[in-house]
């Protein structure tokens, strides 16, 4: 079982116009930098991206947006990306804003064969619009549908050639959630090791969910807000 692929470019070569793509990470933490760069270089258009954040101007997933490749985006937070906010306000980008826990659960459901579930999140807010509201034990819930994607682009710390992955600290976030939800899941890892080098009890994403894997030639790992004792730097 060898899922290794030589480069990020090769790994994303079959992502075409109109594809739906999940991208892991939270903010600039735990994002697949090399896959994002290769995707921008390859340049498919009219993409539907699914990611919690849209990075910042000039870095992270924001690069895909700035390259004009996104037709529709599903995510929970706009916050740090002013370009995205401007596009939304100008009506230039179709955006589905979803509560973060709902987004995580929709993606988890997509990979887990659950077509829909109920959540208390968003009852009585704009999020409720167009959705079934249902009472269980006297409390109201919204029905939310599962999310899947043609591709899931994720980042892990270590991985083996069978696709088993281990994440590091808060760089985990959406990566293990998205791995099972991509029709084709591509993982970039800081360190690609031999099969058997990862303790089976410490595998966080079993290889069954990963179709292609490669070792990142480089990660900038940019820090969005460097806070240290004594204040922000």
């Amino acid at each position: 079982m060898n899922k290794e692929i030589a480069t990020a470019e090769e790994a994303i070569a079959d992502i075409r116009d109109g594809a739906s793509i999940m991208i892991g990470g939270f903010g600039l933490c735990g994002i697949p930098e090399n896959l994002i760069a290769a995707l921008v270089a390859s340049g498919p258009r009219k993409l539907h991206t699914i990611s919690n954040n849209m990075g910042v101007e000039g870095f992270g997933i924001g690069l895909i947006l700035e390259a004009g490749m996104i037709a529709e985006h599903t995510g929970s937070y706009v916050g740090e990306n002013k370009i995205m906010e401007r596009m939304i306000l100008a009506g230039e980008l179709k955006v589905n804003l979803v509560p973060q826990g709902t987004l995580a659960e929709q993606i988890r459901a997509g990979g887990a064969g659950i077509p829909a579930f109920y959540t208390p999140t968003g009852v009585g807010t704009m999020v409720q619009e167009g959705k079934e509201v249902r009472e269980f034990d006297g409390k109201k819930y919204l029905m939310e549908r599962a999310l899947k994607a043609d591709f899931a682009l994720i980042k892990a710390w270590r991985g083996d050639r069978a696709g088993n992955l281990v994440y590091r600290k808060t760089a985990q976030s959406f990566n293990p959630v998205m791995a099972p939800a991509g029709q084709i899941t591509i993982a970039e890892v800081d360190e690609l090791v031999e099969i058997g080098e990862i303790n089976p009890d410490q595998v966080m994403t079993p290889g069954i969910y990963v179709d292609r894997i490669f070792e990142s030639p480089f990660s900038e790992r940019r820090i969005e807000r460097l806070m240290v004792r004594g204040g922000e730097k």
């Binding site: 939270f26 600039l28 987004l103 600290k169």
Partner: protein
Amino acid sequence: MSLPNLTPELRRQRIAARVVHEMNQGYYVNLGIGIPTLVANFIPPDMEVVLQSENGMLGTGPYPELGQQDADLINAGKETITEIPGSSFFSAAESFAMIRGGHMDLSILGAMQVDEEGSLANWMIPGKLVRGMGGAMDLVAAAKRVIVAMEHSTKTGAPKILKKCTLPLTGYQVVDTIVTELGVIHVRDVGLVLAELADGVTFDDIQGVTEATLLASPGLREMKG
């Protein structure tokens, strides 16, 4: 009325210091972005409170020393943080299972508006600002207790505690308590009950900068800090 003798920074500190009194030994707490983040600085060293960060961590520690920062270790505000003994990391799905499952004792958030019914708004101003709800909607939907920690009025002096929120809601009838630099207000069936007033502030002062009607608690007292 906005305690003009206080700088915005001191106002924020005062709010954060007051919120800590709502915590108990052994609590698991989620702190939102902004003033809630400051609350961590006021937790007494002998009170064990475990802070959750919605991006996938229990037991967040203080900011790192310069040079010790780790790009893989951030909080929900994307700030570099540290781990402490007993910390754990998990996925976004697990983090929100934890939040939505009602396991957090307390969720503390900032708000643009709060109203008489305990609804709050903090994620967008139509036509003007789109921040996104992030994890806030989950946090208010399921924590055992929701506290809004915010300055009492907007920068231009307009009230933020309203009869009815005018901005898109983050949660409908979810807030338990509002802590501002002027006082502590509980959301009850009868309406907003003022439980504590800051030193030097009268009931009329606080009502004057509050659109919603406040009811004085029979036990109304000076604000802890």
